[in-house]
């Protein structure tokens, strides 16, 4: 069982690597659209990456309105 902090850390590392953003520039409460410079289609890429990495299924309507990494981590944590 992953802890919430570990989940959050893995999300930040994964997002940084996928969108080629320095990991140290990302913080948990940041708006990930702005931090990663991504649009809605790239958000779907991120969602797929996260689902594949954590082996969970995240219905995208659950992510409606989610904009920061910490809330995203909580949504994933709830399905682990």
């Amino acid at each position: 069982m992953e802890t919430a902090e570990k989940t959050l850390d893995e999300i930040l590392t994964l997002a940084a690597a996928h969108f080629k953003v320095p990991r140290e520039k990302l913080s948990p409460d940041e708006d990930f659209f702005t931090a990663l410079g991504i649009d809605s289609l790239q958000t779907l890429d991120l969602l797929t990456k996260l689902e594949n990495h954590f082996r969970v299924e995240l219905p995208d309507y659950e992510l409606q309105g989610v904009t920061d990494f910490r809330t995203l981590a909580a949504k994933i944590q709830a399905r682990l």
């Binding site: 809605s40 289609l41 779907l44 969602l47 797929t48 299924e57 995208d60 309507y61 992510l63 409606q64």
Partner: protein, 269 residues
């Protein structure tokens, strides 16, 4: 002009070594509209000549964003705004009937057809993949029928074809929630035959086509005709329902909202 190859604005094809490869390349994400349809019709006509020399057909996208984001909603909205309501509905019906003719032709083609998909495979793009006998997906592929958000149902034959392949409960889940699923889930529910690494779908489709080419073609055709009937009656019904729904003001409002949206998540249902 030879039908063996064609390079258009929205798609291209070539026949080589018994395999037809149809590639989509209309920016931004292969939206299907008035540019793609005549080229798809051209392909459907060319199939009469092509299929005599081919065992397989592979459909894929050359664009990074994905296989296909579906119908060109911007064009649909703009056209429907520029004409009287009854004309707009007639125009939509005409478009649907034309695209159904193309998709039915590919669906029933006496070839083994393979969709090699990656990224966004939404709406009409999902429906295009469903026409094929096999779907090979890269692990970043995502499938979705987002039409419910606009007050619509899929209109390019998605419901009858999804129902042909999957259990009704899964079909309802996808249609009624409008949610997207990844390639792994799509394989678990029986939609996708192979999931491969990122960027590997076309290679895997070519390997599969080469394997198919080793076997007797008549056997493959007989098996396909037996197991994959084209659900013509339901396809016709789907057009009627789509047109009925399309005439409602709620749909125009939904289209307007989508087209004018500055929301960062318009693709998230």
């Amino acid at each position: 002009m030879s039908t063996k190859q064609f390079k258009g604005q929205a798609l291209s094809w070539q026949l080589q070594g018994g395999v037809i490869e149809l590639s989509l390349h209309r920016e931004p994400c292969n939206e299907l509209g008035s540019l793609s349809l005549p080229e798809l019709e051209k392909f459907a006509s060319a199939l009469d000549d092509l299929e005599g020399d081919a065992n397989a057909l592979i459909l894929y996208s050359e664009l990074k964003c994905g296989f296909c984001a579906g119908a060109d909603l911007r064009e649909l909205y703009e056209r429907s705004q520029s004409m009287e309501k009854s004309h707009a509905v007639r125009g939509v019906r005409d478009f649907l009937e034309r695209i159904h003719r193309v998709l039915n032709r590919i669906d029933a083609a006496p070839l083994t057809t393979i969709a090699a998909v990656h990224g966004v495979t939404f709406g009409g793009g999902f429906e295009l993949a469903l026409v094929c006998d096999l779907i090979i997906a890269d692990k970043m592929a995502r499938f979705c029928f987002p039409e419910v958000r606009l007050g619509l149902i899929p209109g390019f034959g998605g419901i009858p074809r999804l129902k042909r392949d999957l259990g009704n409960a899964v079909v309802r889940d996808l249609l009624l929630t409008g949610r997207s699923i990844n390639a792994t889930k799509a394989q678990q529910i029986g939609l996708v035959s192979q999931v491969v690494s990122e960027g590997e779908a076309l290679r895997a489709a070519r390997a599969t086509a080469a394997q198919i080419g080793k076997f007797d073609r008549e056997t493959a055709v007989a098996a396909k005709q037996f197991i994959k009937p084209v659900p013509l009656e339901e396809l016709r019904e789907e057009i009627d329902i789509f047109c009925e729904l399309f005439s409602r003001p709620a749909v125009q409002a939904g289209l307007k909202k989508f087209v004018e949206s500055t929301d960062a998540q318009p693709y998230l249902p």
